[in-house]
Symmetry: C2
Subunit: 215 residues, 2 copies
DNA sequence: TTCGATTAAAGAAAATATTCATTATTATTT
DNA sequence: AAATAATAATGAATATTTTCTTTAATCGAA
């Protein structure tokens, strides 16, 4: 297979990466309360996680804590935002301006986390030519002509049956990271990162756990 | 601590639960192609996962496969949808009809996956009294008066700083499952399930992996 | 029928992630 | 100045998840 010999040593564990934005949110609240330092112990207690997990997660970044004091809040916020790629703004194309795609276009929160949607693509004549929140919608066929090297991120919100095809189109057009909201597992070469975000998956977990609590 | 002695034997692993909706999507496409049976081998190859992982994941449901044949597509779809709680419609309240909350209200996809938002709550006078896609928006203070036993799910899309407070309000009002879109870790008793869905977390993972591919 | 190939299922092994235990450091108190 | 307590950091142990291996079943071809 294709990725067998790719060493993944040095890769930050995905669970750690997923927790980091939570630390960031916590730290921003701490900053509001004018806390200058915050310790792993306190973060852990407030967030309901293990204290050593906090230190271990943070050890992947460049931050160093001070014994008996903790981490400097401002410094840690900066380091985390930078480490997570939230400081530099990545441009993104959106594919599929339907129900979910629209939602993402209307959503202003993403800008603060390093992502700016600059154009959308669809096949429905009813939406092509329109603009949503200042983002123009083109026909997918226009994508190939645009090929902007500065846009490396693509958001995939087309119906499941077209997901693989559109993903291939994206890859061919130079997209290096696909944020995949469809429940389809995309098959592409190793040079393109596919990040699955299936809301249904989270729903499924919640329903399952709710069923267990009742017992 | 509080959940230490709670046996979690018998709990379906979260990674397995998260994969199940992907299988479901795959199966629905297979059904469209009029496939009557599909084997774990083929599912695995098409989806780019390990074949034994597929059988192991499916073994948590009631389905049994046929040696040398595979699983019956229709039966497996039914079993999975039922197992994941997508067949019965759960009513839900939404807390925070802002940017993301609006997106979810406009989103018609959720109905098909067992979730129906029946009312929204906010504190902003500009939105209270209005309706979005037929869902009325009330002031949060109205929530306590409503206390509908049939609504056990709450969707949390308020600003981070109010997340914990609103979550407590939800729990006090009888909500048993909180779909938490804020990056805050909610602290509540064991009788309430909190399902975190932080879009930023997924973004963070994608950015990180993209940085590594460049090397 | 007999053989070979394909598969589900279940258990073993390996890899990964989390939690625990230890050590060294340093603010604060005595 | 010495003792104490709180903490970061690191390595060990444990738990969880994934992958590998084996077994038994059965379809289709010879
Ligand atoms: N709606 C939800 O709640 C939700 C939640 C999570 C995931 N998803 C997933 O996101 C995807 C989209 O869902 P939705 O509800 O927005 O569907 P939708 O039908 O509302 O939107 C899909 C859009 O994609 C466009 N499209 C179709 N083919 C295309 C192509 N080849 N190139 C570009 N655009 C194309 C359609 O014209 C449409 O506008 C689905 O895969 C769905 O499973 C949806
Ligand atoms: N917008 C995004 O892209 C995005 C993505 C993922 C997660 N989130 C998270 O979701 C949350 C909401 O984000 P947003 O962008 O929609 O923010 P927003 O400010 O647009 O919306 C928040 C809404 O909550 C309401 N609200 C405030 N206090 C409330 C209370 N006590 N009870 C009920 N409602 C209250 C506000 O009036 C507002 O309408 C945030 O925590 C954010 O981090 C946002």
């Amino acid at each position: 297979m294709s990725s067998e010999n790719k060493k993944k040593e040095g890769l930050v564990p995905e669970p750690s990466l997923r927790r980091m934005p939570c630390y960031l949110a916590y730290l921003k609240l701490a900053k509001r309360r004018n806390q200058e330092f915050v310790s792993s112990t306190h973060i852990a207690r407030d967030m309901g996680v293990d204290p050593t997990q906090v230190t271990k997660d943070l050890s992947y970044t460049s931050i160093v804590g001070k014994t008996r004091v903790g981490y400097e809040v401002n410094a840690l916020i900066e380091v985390l935002e930078d480490f997570l790629g939230f400081t530099k703004l990545d441009k993104a194309y959106l594919f599929g301006a339907g129900s979910l795609g629209n939602a993402l276009l209307h959503d202003h929160g993403l800008d603060q986390y390093g992502l700016k949607i600059v154009a959308a693509f669809d096949v429905d004549p009813k939406v092509i030519g329109r603009s949503i929140e200042g983002v123009p919608i083109f026909h997918v066929s226009e994508f190939e002509k645009m090929k902007d090297e500065n846009v490396q991120v693509g958001i995939l919100t087309v119906p499941a049956e077209f997901a693989q095809d559109v993903a291939q189109l994206m890859a061919a057009g130079g997209i290096k990271g696909i944020w995949n909201f469809t429940p389809i597992r995309i098959r592409l070469g190793d040079d393109v990162v596919v990040q699955d975000t299936s809301l249904y998956a989270h729903l499924a977990v919640m329903f399952n756990r709710m069923g267990h609590v009742k017992k």
